[in-house]
Symmetry: C2
DNA sequence: CGCCTAGTTGACTTATATCAAACCGCGTGG
DNA sequence: CCACGCGGTTTGATATAAGTCAACTAGGCG
């Protein structure tokens, strides 16, 4: 498993320059951040943080996908967040982290040691403001997901997840047809953990959606959605 | 249904002075807030915001309990947040709200029109900082709840809800025995909507917990928990 | 007094979990 | 080069937790 070495030299080149926690910074603020940032890479499957560990650093996902999970003592797992490029991980003003953070694909992180970053939040308003904005968005997403977990059927859950991934991925390369193609960044097991289902149920519903022509795939991970609107109609969100 | 008229004259008297969005403010900042604040009351059952409506104001719960809910077109409802005194409602920098907000009991709100409040966030750092802190806490709570919704059994869900209410209410009057008594601020239906269950299942599990001696009640809403640790053991969170 | 809402309880159905087996692509070592 | 094992996935048979439908109780209020 090869770890890509960071090639980014300055924040100007950074692929997440305009949506990460630093996106509102003016050049001067950016300079402050630049002085304390450093990069880290994780291979797919590696754990970035263990729940309960002291939180030494925070940071942004530059590339790749990570998951946030919570686990019950008997081993039941629930994914509680999916972090894509630009998303922030860690929690200022908290000594420990309460979720496991796992790299689902190879991941590159732009990190800041927590203490200096907390100082920056207090001193450079645009970082704190952007972080508030991002946290509010995440809260909205978490609440949206509570509806999925609490009230949707297995089929609706799968359709919702696929639709979300399709649109979030698509938003990176905008060009918008009714169609979408993407590679699932996660295993069936991870999907199950996200959706509060078993992997067997995930598999059955994927097969059912395929049989119904709503999605297509041969290789297990390469999904084609011929008609995003039709998939959306399966999420239960349409009247 | 009688609406209590606000009796609070200044922020100094305010019951949520030290845990609301204003809690980090120094006297000068408080003065800025005081100039734009106003009070509103809602009777139990009234809707404060309808999902999708323009968001004219934001504010803090001074007293009472409100719920945040999301609804699917076919009528399925999921509660996605429970707001207790001190909690903040509304969303700066967003023109509409995406949840219904309902007063579960009589509620008093300390409100700010949204635009002036947004200006305050930008100008008085302690408000933005506190709001970030509160939003991060809410995000943690939402994630905790995703675990409940996705992976817990009906009994564990009920136990989790009762335990949470017991401890959150208890924290107001700290004195900590192993025992707790409280009045449920919500109906069985609201409980069901919070937990992603039907009201019949809620009722059955309440009866089961009662039969097992984990809770006691005659009047449907006045709950006594003889042993909080024993209740906690039913939440699935204990090894 | 009778209706209305909130809650409880029972009988039955069903969606999803559980248990079990087999499949498929892939890298490894004989 | 092929057999093997392995992780990830699919599919089938069965079990069960929770949902549905329905009847009934108990307060509260006009």
């Amino acid at each position: 498993m090869s770890l890509s070495v960071p090639k980014i030299r300055s924040c100007e080149d950074c692929p997440i320059r305009y949506n990460a926690v630093c996106s509102k910074c003016d050049p001067e603020e950016l300079q402050d951040l630049e002085e304390i940032k450093y990069y880290r890479s994780y291979a797919a499957g590696q754990t970035v943080f263990f729940g309960g560990d002291p939180l030494e650093f925070v940071g942004s996902i530059v590339s790749g996908v990570s998951s946030l999970t919570r686990t019950l003592p008997d081993g039941r797992i629930q994914m509680v967040g999916l972090l894509l490029p630009g998303d922030f991980m860690g929690r200022p003003n908290r000594d420990t982290i309460d979720c496991d953070v796992v790299a689902e694909t190879d991941v590159m992180l732009c990190c800041f040691r927590r203490k200096p970053f907390e100082r920056i939040i207090d001193e450079t308003p645009h970082v704190g403001q952007r972080l508030l904005e991002m946290t509010l968005d995440e809260l909205d997403a978490a609440r949206e997901w509570m509806l999925v977990l609490g009230r949707k059927t297995a089929r609706e859950k799968i359709a919702s997840l696929l639709h979300m991934i399709a649109t979030r991925m698509a938003s990176l390369k905008p060009g918008e047809t009714a169609e979408a193609t993407f590679t699932l960044p996660i295993t069936r097991e991870t999907m199950a953990n996200y959706l509060g289902l078993t992997i067997e149920t995930v598999s059955r519903q994927m097969s059912a959606l395929k049989k119904d022509g709503l999605i297509a795939f041969d290789e297990r991970r390469d999904i084609r959605v011929p008609d995003l609107a039709a998939l959306k109609a399966e999420t239960g969100e349409i009247a």
